[in-house]
């Protein structure tokens, strides 16, 4: 599991609308908000870092959001071993073998 906290800023007049919209997003909870400044702290839970990144990018595009950036990121219980290509692609690359020499270096 990955968990990040994100600062979101909206126009003050859109705050409630934005909160409703954020709470409908998968894995997202709005925890704190400040009606005086339009600022909110939300958490986003996602299986992988890639999902976290994609989620934040989605949030940035939601209506009336001026700003959304990450404050903290917890990944201590993320068991995934990351590589930029999918496991399937990696297996194809490495012919299913794992070892110190990535196969593609020798192709």
């Amino acid at each position: 599991m990955n968990l990040s906290t994100i600062l979101v800023i909206s126009k003050k007049e859109s705050l409630h609308e934005v909160i409703d919209c954020l709470n409908k997003q998968t894995g997202v909870d709005v925890h704190h908000s400040d009606p005086d400044t339009g600022r909110m702290i939300i958490t986003q839970e996602a299986e992988t870092i890639d999902d976290e990144v994609a989620g934040l990018k989605r949030l940035k595009k939601l209506p009336n959001i001026i700003y959304a950036e990450m404050v903290s990121h917890y990944f201590g219980e993320d068991k995934k071993n990351y590589a930029a290509v999918s496991q399937q692609d990696l297996d194809a690359l490495d012919n299913g073998t794992s070892g110190p020499v990535p196969e593609y270096l020798n192709d």
Partner: protein, 914 residues
């Protein structure tokens, strides 16, 4: 994880973030926030990625990093991270981390055509040493090279530069930072006589106006952009203007977006200077007291090869412009010459030459840059009316020239990666100095950097082919003498001949002039323009290439030996960001497998060479300097013996583990707080190399305008980096300004005290008329630099511009944020942004796979006609993170002839459906 624990963690993390961001929450909630993290150990760190230098906090548990957060006490980012922040922690634990040295082998022996096989460190160093000796004995000190980095930690860069310059007597070390800010350096040195900005990020909160020039800050410096946005939204008087060649996200909050034709920024700056004079907005008092006027030759070439010997047939027409050009009508007006005139590029090797001119001459220089001329030349969007573009240029002049309006100009690669990058940097200071809007809170021209320690290491430590620490240079005998004294070297150990810049090292590999090269903390075979040449040189020529890297990259793929390397939080380090802020972190966790830090690799390699191997007579072709025999470095062994060295001493003991440095002990009781140091522990010599080397290095700057604090200061809990010069424990926010800078004497107000290039002959716009030199202590130079056309422009065959750059989520060549090269993907990730009409004209729509082809090569990319980057017709943009879309095969390796920084922004290409 149980639901209760998960919910508890969420609410605690949210409370902690709310506290950090200053949102109102109750004390009970705030107290609860700490409980969830009770068994985590937090420590301060610095983001691994761009040059902003955001402070981050890292939590470790059981020896692993489990969480990161923006450091609320960091003045740069005040608790926030951009998306790249997600990659600071878990990035250490990738599946494809390299954990053993890999050597190309056949039948148990090294073979350039062999396959990579895992070997021991001893075997790796044996081969590296043998190959080094072979080349060094054959070609001398400049037959070997290091591809260095703006991502080196300060101790890494220092160790690499000292080993090369003092140990191997070679100046062939140059960082990838050459590609990102060398033009800024020339701008600083030529204008102020000292490198790095006067101002700092605090200018954002003090200013009334932010003008971005070739800087998509919203995507590339998002945290600083957040500060700009805050400032813009908090005060209606604040204006933001974005000058760009392609509409981008930075324009979202801009009051004005000015789309200009590539290269015409040179003309726009001169238009603004002309307007300042015409509207009587010049701050004559400031100019008279603090500035002089200067200019230099125009016929300086484009930093390409001077021979067509290596050029592909298609490249030859572009390459020919290196030696001679035909002036087009705009250049003719801009340079007061005749259209069609052929101009030999006679000052290719003297591009840095400059001389004083009068204000009257300066006025004559900018006179042709009328609104009518500049507007028709610079209009970058053919769908925009000339009138509209004119109005925007006038509005730009209005904000710059408004009396008492504070202005900052920010730029990054658009101005630095430019065939006249040094000129255009100087033009930014030209305008700010004319207006007296420089070195004051909220006003100044500010070059943003792209890499985390481009300033702190590449520039300040001096890992360039011409530099020594603290702005000293190898071609200055006094500077060499001072370095030799501090490094306890015999006189004339240091080589006075400037080494090869990073692109030239590639050319040297192709020419066979360099046959041994070590890649450290960068990926030059992906990041250097005109890559087809260099890939072939690496694989087909007789040479030996070593690549130190945590992950497999293209540079690893073309190398002969790969050394598995520790990543940022697996070692101790310090970075210096774009606002002169030096920041430090401790090792948080051990590197995996047999991976080791760069400092250890450099020090271990140094152990293998005795003084008698490297300090004897050696040939350096082309060396010509007072006190040296032409083409030769004489032996310094006899002098070394007089200093108490033995020819049998090795470079590790002489340069690094010196008696002095061995007194700086490990284990450390002052700053380590129980953190490990895998390098000190593996060396097992009882010294703390990072601390000892940093404190040795800082001696170069103390009392010389580059003061850094002691190593331990940067590790204090209450310190989040300090902006140099740090004098009497106090950092300097605005340099050259008496109120803030201890180097400015009382009563001077402003003093541009940098010492370099401060005695000049005088002349007019066309050349020197009086060779007597005038001294310019305390003055800055206002340069006249003309518009010059790019060396390659779209034509009938290659009919589109192509510019490269970054996008938000990926960084540089993507080896850390993307990491595994996606060579086998059928469809690349990288998108070529182009105008929908241009796509349609070529029978393509969004998401089609297209071939992008230039005179130099081709690659495939996905067509994108929507989204955040909207190029005007005739213009395309692509990021360079994706190996599958190998952009640098297409880019032109023209460089600014002064800074040698490549122009990655202006290649002519054709695009067609794959």
């Amino acid at each position: 994880m149980s639901q209760t624990r998960r919910e508890f963690l969420k609410s605690s993390a949210a409370a902690s973030a709310a506290v950090a961001m200053g949102l109102p929450i109750s004390q009970t909630v705030a107290a609860a926030a700490k409980e969830a993290e009770a068994d985590w150990q937090w420590d301060k760190g610095v983001c691994r990625f761009c040059g902003t230098g955001c402070g981050i906090m890292l939590a470790t548990k059981d020896g692993r990093v489990v969480a990161t957060k923006g450091d609320p006490d960091a003045p740069v980012n005040r608790g926030l991270n951009c998306i790249k922040g997600y990659f600071n922690g878990k990035i250490l634990y990738g599946k494809d981390r390299l954990t053993q040295p890999l050597l190309r082998m056949k039948n148990g022996k090294f073979d350039k055509q062999g396959q990579f096989q895992a070997v021991s460190w001893k075997r790796a160093f044996d081969e590296m040493e043998g190959q080094f000796r072979k080349t060094y004995n054959e070609l001398g000190p400049h037959g070997v090279a290091i591809f260095g980095s703006g991502q080196y930690t300060i101790p890494e860069g220092y160790a690499a530069a000292k080993l090369m310059k003092a140990g191997f007597r070679s100046n062939n070390i140059d960082p990838n930072a050459r590609h990102c800010m060398a033009s800024a350096v020339v701008g600083f040195i030529q204008t102020f006589g000292i490198d790095e900005p006067a101002g700092n990020y605090d200018d954002i909160e003090y200013t009334d106006t932010v003008v971005t020039w070739g800087a998509n800050m919203a995507e590339c410096h998002p945290i600083l952009w957040a500060r700009v946005s805050d400032r813009r939204l908090s005060d209606d008087n604040v204006k933001v203007i974005n000058l760009t060649t392609s509409s981008n996200q930075t324009s979202d909050i801009a009051d004005e977006e000015i789309v200009f034709k590539p290269g015409t920024d040179l003309a726009i700056w001169n238009y603004l200077a002309r307007e300042a004079i015409k509207r009587d907005a010049v701050n004559h008092d400031f100019v008279k007291k603090h500035c002089v006027f200067a200019t230099g030759p125009y016929d300086i070439g484009y930093g390409m090869r001077g021979t067509s010997k290596y050029a592909y047939a298609a490249e030859k027409d572009t390459q020919a412009r290196e030696l001679e050009i035909t002036l087009d009508k705009d250049e003719a007006i801009a340079q007061r010459k005749t259209a069609g005139e052929k101009v030999k590029q006679n000052h290719r090797s003297k591009a840095m030459k400059h001389w004083l001119i009068s204000f009257e001459e300066f006025k004559k220089g900018v006179e042709p840059y009328t609104l009518d001329f500049v507007a028709q030349l610079s209009k970058g969007d053919q769908d925009e009316s000339l009138q509209s573009h004119k109005q925007k240029l006038q509005a730009l002049a209005d904000v710059y020239l408004q009396k008492n309006r504070k202005v900052i100009s920010f730029w990054t690669m658009g101005m630095n990666q430019h065939y006249r990058g040094s000129w255009v940097n100087e033009q930014a200071y030209m305008l700010h100095l004319l207006l007296g809007k420089q070195a004051q809170p909220g006003s100044g021209a500010f070059s943003l950097t792209g890499q985390p320690s481009a300033c702190g290491t590449a520039r300040e430590v001096g890992t360039f082919a011409h530099r020594l620490p603290a702005d000293l240079v190898v071609f200055n005998p006094k500077h060499r003498a001072r370095s030799e004294q501090l490094w306890k070297l015999p006189a004339k150990t240091l080589n006075p001949k400037v080494g090869s810049h990073i692109t030239k090292i590639m050319r040297d590999l192709e020419d066979g002039k360099v046959k041994w090269a070590w890649v450290q903390v960068n990926n030059p075979f992906q990041a250097t323009a005109n890559a087809n040449h260099w890939l072939k040189a690496a694989r087909k020529m007789d040479n030996f290439i070593i690549c130190s890297d945590p992950y497999p990259t293209i540079s690893g793929k073309v190398a002969d030996l790969i050394l598995p390397t520790a990543m940022i939080f697996e070692k101790w380090g310090l970075y210096g960001n774009a606002e002169r802020r030096t920041q430090a972190w401790r090792q948080q966790t051990n590197p995996p497998g047999e991976a080791m830090g760069d400092v250890w690799q450099i020090l271990e390699f140094a152990k293998r060479f005795k003084l008698k191997d490297v300090w004897g007579d050696s040939a350096v072709p082309g060396l010509k300097a007072a006190g040296f025999e032409d083409g030769k470095l004489a032996s310094v062994l006899a002098d070394a013996e007089k200093m108490g060295y033995s020819p049998e001493d090795n470079l590790y003991d002489v340069l690094f583990a010196t008696q002095e440095n061995r007194k700086v002990s490990w284990p450390d009781n002052s700053v380590s707080k129980g953190h490990a140091n895998h390098i000190a522990e593996k060396l097992a010599d009882g010294w703390f190399p990072e601390k000892a080397m940093f404190n040795e290095y800082r001696q170069f700057g103390v009392g010389h305008q580059h003061d850094l604090a002691e190593f331990d200061t940067y590790y204090r809990d209450d310190v989040r980096g300090l902006r140099w010069p740090v004098v009497n424990g106090k950092e300097t926010r605005w340099r050259f300004n008496e109120k803030y800078d201890p180097y400015v004497k009382k009563g001077e107000g402003i003093s541009f005290y940098g010492k370099a290039l401060k005695a000049l002959p005088s002349g007019n716009l066309d050349g020197v008329t009086d060779k007597n030199k005038t001294k310019l202590a305390g003055k800055a130079k206002i340069f006249f630099r003309p518009y010059a056309a790019p060396p390659e422009q779209p034509d009938e065959n290659y009919d589109l511009w192509m510019s490269t750059g970054r996008v938000l989520e990926h960084w540089h060549t993507g080896t850390m944020t993307q990491r595994v090269p996606e060579l086998h993907r059928a469809v690349p990730n990288a998108q070529l942004f182009m105008h929908p009409d241009d796509a349609e004209k070529r029978g393509m729509v969004r998401n089609d796979v297209a071939v992008v082809e230039s005179r130099r090569g081709k690659f495939k990319a996905l067509i994108e006609t929507q989204g955040r980057n909207s190029p005007p017709k005739g213009y395309t943009f692509i990021a360079f993170f994706d190996e599958a879309a190998f952009v640098n095969k297409v880019c032109l390796d023209a460089t600014c002839p002064m800074s040698k920084e490549t122009d990655f922004k202006k290649a002519a290409v054709k695009v067609y459906k794959a």
